[in-house]
Symmetry: C2
Subunit: 226 residues, 2 copies
Amino acid sequence: MGVTKSKPNQKSLSYKIRDELRNDILSGQIVPGTRLRQEALAERFNASRIPVREALRQLEMEGLVKTQLNRGAVVAAPSIDDICDLLDIRIALECRAAKLAVPKMTQADIDHLEQILEQYHHSQTPGEWAENNRLFHLGLCEPAKNKQLTALIKLYCMSTSSPYANFHLDMTNATDIKTVNSDHLEILNACKERDVNRVIIVLEQHIQSTKDSLMHYQTPCNKVTQ
Amino acid sequence: MGVTKSKPNQKSLSYKIRDELRNDILSGQIVPGTRLRQEALAERFNASRIPVREALRQLEMEGLVKTQLNRGAVVAAPSIDDICDLLDIRIALECRAAKLAVPKMTQADIDHLEQILEQYHHSQTPGEWAENNRLFHLGLCEPAKNKQLTALIKLYCMSTSSPYANFHLDMTNATDIKTVNSDHLEILNACKERDVNRVIIVLEQHIQSTKDSLMHYQTPCNKVTQ
DNA sequence: TTTATTGAAAATGTATCAAGGTTAATCATA
DNA sequence: TATGATTAACCTTGATACATTTTCAATAAA
């Protein structure tokens, strides 16, 4: 009778530390270049150094943290070129996912996307904008039902559209919200018509335009923090 | 006067353990499903459990190891569907990389690819075949000069064309070496002519054909090795 | 045969220690 | 004042020992 598996989705300490740290990095609360000292983190999370070190290794694999031997971990400070490279990865992953997803989309998937665009329309803060943008791109790719692909897209969506990625520059200028919105609308319409090719073309141009904007901002803002 | 930075490219113990373990997993020396006990690994590498645990976390992020709370780490046992999902990721990444790479290819890059095909032609063992296959796909993508993209491709090339991925089935049957060779030749010729579209089309079909072969082998071999 | 019980094995995490390498501050020198 | 060497504090890396908890497998009971 006793429920033996009472806590199936329990998480290891290193996951909790990793997730909280990732959130702090992406939200900009811990700025790029910041040193991440094991002792300090251990104290903050009321943990020993072992789970802290595991969390740092995981964040290193995600690219959010850089480590050097005997010099420890530092929040990664991606250059504009690095962000552009990440955006190319996003183009690769999201276009493939969309290609697989569009034919599989249910009415519920379409409705979901429509709802996100509605929320996007009413967004006020950059935070809301970024979150709804992320949700739209995810909603577009998730019907492909490729979990590993979705996980990668989730990671790269976050790290390219968060305050973390826009540390050097004023992203509100770099991206025109109106254009983004009309792009999303065009993608959604193409989804409704099951026009895979148009979805892909617009999606690629959509992300490419962010790359182009970044390139323009490359010259003026070359100040490296730290 | 002394050279202060005498060892710039020295590696942490966890990296060495990770790399050696990864090699063992991909080469099939440690088969999927095998439990990876911390103590045993620590003993094998003459290390303590700390770097072992870090190595396992890194391999977990790469997808080669699965962990469950209080149950430890196990070599991942990807299903055929999982491998197909990985191959879709490869199509995404490699086609994008090729699109960026072809216009940037130097004569040296072309020569390098030609040389790999030559070696491929003379390969005898499945190991040589796999290695040259990997080198060709990497050589095709590297001129894109996107380090993060190349790193991802390297990872997924390895994990989909190694004995690890072909654990359930007899891959020598699933993939026709001759077809692979002619595909590669066609891709190389398209590169020479700077015909990006043809490169992409053939490359996608080339990887897709592996997916198709896998699908055929899905029914007969459903034996899960714990 | 099924269900409990129980004990060994293993994972998770803490605390402490030692041996290096880095970093920064101090001090001496040109 | 600037430059360069020395030193000391700090931090990382790693080892070791220990406690707690969960799994897992073998045994005993219904």
